[in-house]
Amino acid sequence: MIRLGILSFAHLHAEAYVENLRALPDVELIGIADDNVERGRYFAQQFGVRLFDSYAALLAEKPDGVCVCSENARHLPLVQMAAEAGAHVLCEKPLATTLEDAQAIVRVCDDAGVRLMTAFPMRFGAPALEIKKLVDAGGLGHIYGCNATNQGALPEFHQAANLAFLKRDWFVNKALAGGGAIADHLVHLADLLRWYLRSEVTEVFASANQIMHAGRVQVETGGLAMLTFANGTFASIDCSWSKPAYYPTWGGLKLELVAEKGLATMDAFKQTMSVYSHSVGRPVWSYWGSDANQGMIDEFVAAIREGRSPSITGHDGLRAVEIVVAAYQSIESGQPVKLS
């Protein structure tokens, strides 16, 4: 039996992970802890799971691993506590809001001899895996470029219920999130493309604005980035929070690879049906495709059980943070930024 806990419900993915962990027959969710006491109580009751008084109390139970779902800027202290307690770590993305923190997260896990996985669930999406197979089989040949979007609604809207302590407004707080749309939505595609291309990003250009939700939030809400990879492929990523609150779904992730041998397109969350309910009053796209989070949690658990490195590591998380940091440098300077 693999024993796991969840540290913080600041990130909404924590809610999904509860179900994902419970879906596995040989995994025990020993409990959760949250520095937001009201929030911890709420979710402990909702999911019928044990609530620990503190992160230390949960870790004192010697779990095999933990999922760290705190605010981006608060990953490091929780990862450090977990590593020191000998627990393997699945850390939400982005790994950190600064390069120094991301490096420290990798280092404390290495020093403690625990495995660190970065939560990049897109690598486990069924459509994304088909593209990976096609690319690996050489079906596209050299990939010239990629036009990609990972847009969403303003994350303030990602709220489980209309309760003040459940408000996820830290997503639009620069200090806690590391920025706005760029910090939130650049990393999934950056990671997916590193994985597809087996090549590192050598240059980043980014431009951002605060036209949407101006006055409501103090961070960038519109963002376009162009990544250039060592193999010559270039990719533009639209990470804007440009979907209205009443959009039929939370947002989406799409990419288009234009290549020597043709074209491949992916709309990762296209497997939906349109639902028109009087009670909602607007169309809703109800997703029925496979759950990528489940694949990611399965891999984290398998890596712990088999005593091996997970397929996505802290190194992958660190590379993604480097790209985000470079994007903010580019926005600041107006020039493309080289990565070594």
Partner: protein, 335 residues
Amino acid sequence: MFKVGIIGSGFMGATHATAWAQTLAQVAGICSLDRASADALAAQTGGRVYDNIDALLAAVDVVDICSPTHLHHEMALRAAAAGKHIICEKPLARTYAQAREMVEACASAGVKLLVAHVVRFFPEYAQAKAIVERGEIGRVAVVRLTRCAYQPRLSANNWFLDPAKSGGLILDLMIHDFDYARWVAGDVVSVYARSVRGRQPDAPEDYSLAILRHADGALSNIEGAWAYPPPMFRTALEIAGDAGLIEHPADSSVPLGIYLKASEAGGTPDVGLPMSPMLEDPYVAEIKHFYAVLTDEAVTPRVTAEDGAAALRIALAASESARTGRHVMIEEVLA
């Protein structure tokens, strides 16, 4: 009767000729280096074939320049000197200096210079612009435009593939969306672009992505390809504002799907592509509008010579960025 002379008898010359037939104007002359296609077009329109431009100019009220891009400048200057109005295919010219000279020559000669940015006449693009103008999505924040096709194929003399003549993918194809982005989001101040041929000029195909920054802070992502598998051609548009969103993804509004079984002889059907038919072709709408502008002083042109020059300037900035890897300020483009 208002007389039109068409210069060039390739695909665009023929398309314009067909469109002129739906106005009260008469296609009085055709001038082309390719005598066979010029004769065919003359037979269709009833006009005469002229061997040289000056003779054509003497016989018409307006010239419609549908020649390869690098020839626009000289032809337009001759037409302006002859006091003839000009319709010019996009891009307005091959260089910005040429475009400026054309704009100024036409202004001093008192002739109109109308640039055929036909995308402004495509109903979905015109409608999205109208929605933005009505304020329905608020202030524009992020624009996304896609125009992807396979490499142009001409049996002989494929000037599209000679960057000295056409300017390549960025000037020939992406300019449509540079113009449209500027139309909906305002003047562009800088461009960062990547393209396959920007770094490898002898690459067999081209693909490009460009990020535009507009004067009021809006951003545009422009995608262009001459690398799709034939016969694929896709366009898409998305405009996000601070009070709403317009989405028009590729293939989203195709009303027909006609998929015929192969004939018993084993051939493949001629028509296998999705179709989006219109009662009025956008090229016809464009030419009718130009006819109205030329014959009625009260009609304001939907696209001006300055618009054509501005779109070219963005495209040249994108080319420069793709070649050098720099973030290029639009004001740097002087030639």
